[in-house]
Amino acid sequence: MSDTRLAVELPGLKLKNPIMPASGTFAFGDSKYAQMYDLNQLGALITKAVTLEPRAGNATPRIAETKSGVLNAIGLQNPGLKVVLEEKLPALQAKYPDLPIIANVAGSTEEEYVAVARALSESKMCSALELNISCPNVKHGGMMFGTNPDVAAELTAAVKKASSVPVYVKLSPNVTDVKEIAQAVADAGADGLSMINTLLGMRLDLKTRKPVLANQTGGLSGPAIKPIAVRMIREVAAAIDIPIIGMGGVETAADALEMMMAGASAVAVGTAHFHDPLVCPHIIDALPKTMDQYQVSTLQELCSQTGQMLRGEKG
């Protein structure tokens, strides 16, 4: 069933296919989603954010629905580095020894990011890190690090120094110029980028006269944001030569190919899980015939299309 045409390679990641669950929507591969199919089918898996200490996250409600989207304000709830190292990652490794794991790293201070990154990379239980400088749902850290190019670059450099595995910096879309941040973290040594995280949004409840989310604002994800994700990925891919894991509203194999056409080398799927728990295997299954339908011979060709498209169209 594994179609060799689906294989892709990124720094630290030799993937049998480009599809992986996005951070925060698949826990540590230990939810009931994992009981529904063999996770070895996945290209890789991105974990929930890991912080130094356990975190309880924000008050509830933390979830709200919008038209073609979801607002979440989880606030990086996670069991903390120790439990991740002693329980979560070993369990994953034992069950799926060949599945590449990307650990999502978060923190409130540079020191925390560095400590988490060092420990995770030294554990040898993950193939790469995803540096989350774009969570819109925490007061300290998160997006604060991802909206200023100098701050983002400094953090990236520090984490790169501490990490023995490649580092993908996860960018925030809540910025005036995403290329500027991308360039700054690339210059600081990022091995790749992960984009996009959620857009800061809000819903108000006329009945209660309060925001629907206890945290007031939350991060908007899902198909609603896909056009923004495609635009940002393409902007960055056209300007900077660095591999990108693309995400934001992907639901189908065609969506994944659109992300790759924009310039992504691999694709993460988040919100779509909430209406189709089997969305990743569904996309992986559908990819070969969708590639045939659109006469895509290789994913590499599609991903490099961006450059051609721009040369052909602009000027």
């Binding site: 939810s31 309880a56 509830t60 979830i63 629905e65 919008t66 979801v70 989880i74 996670n78």
Partner: protein, 260 residues
């Protein structure tokens, strides 16, 4: 086994204004479909990103049917109410822990306290308890006579006490009135409650030290399977450590803090 099942609507009728009983037919995780567990129903319109959680209200593994009872409260349930027999729905299930009852033996006594759309899982529980010869006192609360449903079946499975807010049927007031007036001590081997927060709080307050009281909670969910941390509720220390979709929806009254 937890899975995403595509089932066919075999019956769909309005029990009371805005309260529907949906019967679905087909393959399902019947072994896991115990009272207190729930399903996540995919909305039949791609604009909806989230599934909707509903308690299992009945289940028949031989006829291969499952029943849900739901109230139309928003866009999703409105859409559901328009579906006809023969249409299909996708259901992820069964999810959650369910009510603990397997250790009870015939002759033991239980109290079931339910209000509004908290009644469906208790209906299923009372049926199972009845089959096992376990006694049940059942207190259910409704807004008024018009909004009543499921009382005929409940009557078959235990001693039923009804309250209505306007007194049009049974005792006037909230369902907690029954606990205060009628079944005021706790000679029960187990107490189960499901319904609005006010109801759960009054049950928790009524039996503050009892360790045999179980409350079924609701929470906003995204995944329903323990993958997103969306649905957490506070434990007794106030820490948001309990996921309603995995550790719940049923919690021992001693382990969970109810908050608005």
């Amino acid at each position: 086994m937890v899975n995403d099942y595509e089932m066919t609507i075999s019956a769909h009728r309005e029990l009371a204004p805005g309260i529907w009983r949906l019967e679905l037919q087909g393959d399902f995780d019947y072994a896991g479909a115990l009272p207190g567990t729930f399903v996540e129903v995919e909305m039949p319109d791609e604009a909806y990103q989230l599934r909707r959680p509903f308690a299992i209200a009945d289940c028949d593994s031989e006829r291969q049917t499952l029943a849900l009872i739901y109230r139309v409260v928003g866009a999703g349930t409105e859409l559901m109410s328009q579906l006809h027999e023969g249409a299909t729905l996708k259901l992820l299930g069964s999810l959650g822990n369910g009510f603990p009852f397997a250790d009870l033996v015939p002759g033991q006594r239980t109290l079931l306290v339910g209000g509004g759309t908290g009644i469906p899982p208790l209906l299923y529980l009372s049926k199972v308890l009845h089959e096992r010869g376990i006694q049940a006192d059942i207190a259910v609360g409704f807004l008024n006579q018009e909004s009543m449903f499921a009382t005929d079946e409940l009557q078959q499975y235990g001693n039923l006490a009804i309250t209505t807010n306007d007194g049009s049927v049974g005792i006037k007031g909230f369902v907690s009135a029954v606990l205060d007036n009628k079944w005021h001590d706790n000679p029960y081997d187990r107490i189960y409650a499901c319904g609005p927060l006010g109801l759960l709080m009054s049950v928790q307050n009524r039996y503050p030290d009892a360790d045999n009281v179980y409350l079924s909670l609701e929470s906003r969910m995204a995944c329903g399977v323990g993958a997103c941390e969306g649905c957490v509720v506070p434990d007794k220390q106030g820490k948001l450590s309990l996921r309603v979709c995995v550790e719940g929806p049923v919690f021992n009254s001693q382990e969970v803090q109810l908050s608005v």
